[in-house]
Amino acid sequence: TPDSIQRQVWDGKLPVCFVLPEDPDVPPLYSLVPRVGYFPALLDRLRAHLSRHAGIDEDSPGAQQLWLRSAGRPLRWHLPVGLLYDLERPKPPPLPWEVEIRTRDFPTDELVSFGPNNSLESYFLYCLKEADALKHRARVINEMGEREHRQLWQGLLNDQFDQFSVVNRKLMEGEAKYLPFRIYQQEADGGLSVLQCLAKPHREDSTPLTLSDLLRICMPNFADPVTLATHGVSLPMETPLAWAYDKLAYPDNFLHLVLQPSRCNSAGDGESSAMQLDSSSEF
């Protein structure tokens, strides 16, 4: 059923092992973290763990300025957990995913700081507003009251699909002017390129816009073979963007796509979704 894909996306979880390298005697904290969730939502749990096992008081500067690292780089924790995992290079780390807790040297020029003056909830709402601005000129989100905004956040926070969906349905239904998406490319030097542009659900001739079309719009001069993946799954390039958006958008109402160079194959080793883009491709 159409709902079952959305439900599977919602239910996807990653086993994560949080370690504290600055004190190896502290036992790791294991957690099954929702792919569609956010690491800062776990800050209270991490602080409680440090308080209990590392003698780091929850109100201390170390606990308050806590941040996370993976493979030697700060985790850009404003992005959903699953997206961060899928971005890891050169390939997704073995599971459980080992994530380091840091209590010093918060990278203020790289990481958004979440706390009482900048809540994860208000950032989530900021994302929802932008998505609705693209789809509906923000009419739907602005017509919702604060209660429904809260319900979206609480539903996500508490892993309550039905509570979330009953409100989110209003944001996801109806004709969208532009579809909210972002294309991410992790650079070898640790930088992250993020592409966003205006994409309508249909082409000029009213046929559905595909992912191939999307790449052509966003990266007009790009010619290398690539794949686009989301939630760890490569998508066929002929997939209509509107379908992918409806089924695979994250709770923040964005379709987050990871761009990867593809191994062009003629023998069909299972990586069949690559398609070479150049001006001779035809539809």
């Binding site: 404003h78 700081s113 809540s119 932008e130 693209l134």
Partner: protein, 198 residues
């Protein structure tokens, strides 16, 4: 609201005039920068930096508290309107603590709108977010009401708009952005001199 008042292209074309009007009256360092691309359109910003009085640390302080504001004036395609991203630091470059940053914006907004202290729900309009192209954390004011506001502020006549209602004339676009900045800039202590409109 009939439709988008500005496009990214129109905003880009208006930036040099915006820069000229502001730098004609303000002696701050100011420049135009290309920070990325959206399809085949460059993403451009006007970037500037200035010192402004911050909220008083406490009543007995005789020395004024100064805040260094690094301001990026850009464009949001999602909202089809200008958008501010800014960093707040002490004059020595140390970023303001989140609570001090919130106080700074709150005091500026309240003193310019006369809104009673405590009534403004700052969390619903101010967030620290990654800059869309640069990726670094910056504060932003949620643009959700901007499109409505700029529609009321723009002095563009019908002749300046094309069939979709979009402001087409560069001069009109620059003045519209300047009008918007007059309102939104107050949140970071920016006072746009009236002479900039001449």
């Amino acid at each position: 609201l009939s439709g988008p008042m500005l496009s990214r292209s129109a905003f880009n074309e208006a930036l040099p005039q915006l820069l000229a009007r502001l730098s004609g009256r303000l002696s701050w360092p100011m420049r135009l920068a290309t920070v990325g691309a959206e399809s085949d359109t460059p993403v451009m910003e006007l970037q500037t930096s200035f010192l402004v009085a911050g909220p008083a640390a406490d009543a007995s302080d005789s020395a004024p508290v100064l805040v260094q504001v690094r301001l990026h004036i850009g464009f949001s395609s999602a909202y089809a309107c200008p958008v501010l991203h800014f960093c707040l630091s002490q004059p020595d470059g140390v970023p303001l603590a989140a609570s001090d940053a919130a106080d700074f914006v709150r005091v500026n907004v309240e003193s310019s709108t006369g809104e009673a202290a405590g009534q403004l729900d700052l969390a619903s309009v101010l967030s620290q977010v990654p800059h869309p192209q640069l990726g670094c954390p910056m504060y932003t004011l949620h643009p959700c009401r901007t499109a409505e506001l700029i529609g009321r502020l723009t002095s563009a006549s019908e002749a300046d708009r094309d069939g979709s209602g979009e402001v087409r004339d560069t001069n009109a676009a620059a003045l519209a952005v300047l009008s918007w900045l007059t309102v939104y800039g107050r949140a970071v202590g920016l006072q746009v001199p009236p002479e900039c409109f001449l």
